[in-house]
């Protein structure tokens, strides 16, 4: 299978196999007008199988959430067909309106206009808690 090389854009590599679609939804890539390729189950010497997302074009999307999804992911920024920056995403201090609080007693459950905000409370374990009720964040796989 051939996917064209990107001249300018972002390649999100080392996504655990099967996680690409989830990440695609989290990042709202369906709303972009540029070319996006989601490669599933690509061969990998390190991971055996991995997913890759290639986004072509000068885009403005917030990639902070990638650190929350999986800090092992690699972000490659491409310009003039070359990788100009390669890094693992850090854990964001806050994630806003990405995951929903599951606590039925939380104020976010009864007032719909409130942003769902989670803060990083344990960087070592990557634990996020709701700023309103301290409930631990759980990934929403139904998105």
């Amino acid at each position: 299978m051939r996917i064209d090389t990107i001249v300018e854009g972002v390649v999100i590599d080392h996504i655990p196999a099967g996680g690409g679609m989830e990440l695609y939804r989290y990042l709202g890539l369906d709303k972009l007008r540029c070319q996006v390729a989601l490669i599933k189950n690509a061969s990998s010497t390190k991971m055996k199988r991995k997913d890759i997302i290639k986004i072509s074009g000068n885009i403005d999307i917030n990639l902070d959430i990638l650190g929350y999804i999986d800090p092992g992911i690699t972000i490659n920024i491409i310009k003039d067909s070359k990788i100009i920056l390669k890094h693992h995403p850090p854990l964001p201090e806050r994630i806003i309106d990405v995951v929903r609080c599951r606590n039925p007693r939380c104020i976010t459950a009864s007032e719909q206009d409130i942003s769902h905000i989670f803060k990083l409370t344990d960087a070592k374990k990557g634990i996020y808690r709701c700023v309103y009720c301290d409930t631990r964040a759980e990934r929403d796989r139904t998105r």
Binding site: C106, E111, Y132, D134
Partner: protein
């Protein structure tokens, strides 16, 4: 502008300063009777409360200020569907400071994010109740003369009891504190409280289901009510509500300088015949609650 939503919003130095201020108010009440003249406290109580609301109102009145508010969500705009954010903005136009109690966790934080005046969390569901914790700390300091090097037993409902979790958080920042957690298995301190507070802070604690066994070791015994409203099953509530009752027999083997605290209201975990025991501090605790709230109002209003 500062608000108090979580006890950890305050450093231990700030808590100590608040307690110093409360002790000064106790010693010299006449110096404080006009401190808040011309200021108004709004009490927004979306669920029933006697002690906390009256304590806040008494605190403001004793500082020379005035109070306004409601004591039932059904008599407020919330019944018409007004959001917490909007209510907070509206109340900001009428008062200088507000205290809010709400059954939903995090409601006071939403109020603080939208208000233009200081907000005090007066209890949000089973989550936080920082002014109760300040009350507990002041009581411990007044009764024991210190807030460090103490063995503190927490007894009863340690799972749902918000005052217990906040007290663990606050006391864990002082040196030499040893916790003894006394509860039936069903009502033990939740795992996240153990991992986030007790184990992260390398604190000394033990769990037991026997009050009798550990009561001789305690400097402070913090009793809690098994709260009906926190149970989903009525049968579970009935089965567990009488589990830990403080009887004269148990007190016989306790230290003579033990301090018995309770956030109140009690149901039957402390029979009224214990009230005359000099070790019973829970009614003094109510009084200390008013003084620490006076100190807090002064601090948040930045009144010297």
């Amino acid at each position: 502008m500062r608000s108090l939503i979580d006890i950890l919003d305050l450093s231990t130095e700030e808590i100590d300063q608040l307690m110093d201020c409360a002790e000064d108010i106790i010693a010299n009440p006449e110096l404080y009777e006009d401190k808040c003249r011309g200021k108004k406290l709004a009490t927004l109580f979306y669920e029933p409360s006697t002690r906390t609301r009256l304590s806040f109102e008494a605190a403001m009145l004793e500082l020379g200020g005035k109070v306004l508010g409601f004591s039932d969500g059904q008599s407020s705009s919330a019944a018409k569907g007004e959001s917490i954010a909007d209510t907070a903005r509206v109340v900001s136009a009428f008062a200088d400071i507000m205290a809010i109690r709400h059954p939903k966790e995090g409601a006071p934080l939403v109020a603080a994010m939208n208000a233009t005046i200081p907000v005090i969390n007066a209890g949000d569901g089973g989550h936080n109740h920082p002014t109760q914790t300040l009350t507990d700390l002041l009581t411990i300091r007044r009764e024991k003369g210190r807030t460090d090097s103490l063995t503190i037993g927490l007894c009863g409902d340690l799972k749902f009891g918000r005052t217990v979790h906040s007290l663990l958080q606050a006391m864990s920042r002082y040196d030499g504190i040893r916790f003894i957690l006394i509860s039936p298995e069903e009502l033990q301190v939740p795992e996240h409280v153990k991992t986030d507070i007790l184990e992260t802070g390398n604190l000394s604690y033990m769990e037991t289901d026997s009050l009798m066994q550990v009561i001789p070791d305690l400097d402070v015994l913090y009793m809690t009510r098994v709260q009906r409203e926190r149970f989903i099953s009525e049968a579970d509530y009935v089965r567990l509500k009488d589990t830990y009752i403080l009887t004269p027999d148990k007190l016989k083997i306790a230290r003579r300088d033990l301090s018995i605290l309770h956030p109140l209201p009690r149901v039957n975990e402390i029979p009224s015949l214990i009230d005359s025991d000099p070790r019973a501090c829970y009614f003094k605790q109510v009084l200390y609650g008013k003084y620490i709230r006076m100190a807090l109002i002064l601090k948040l209003l930045e009144v010297d």
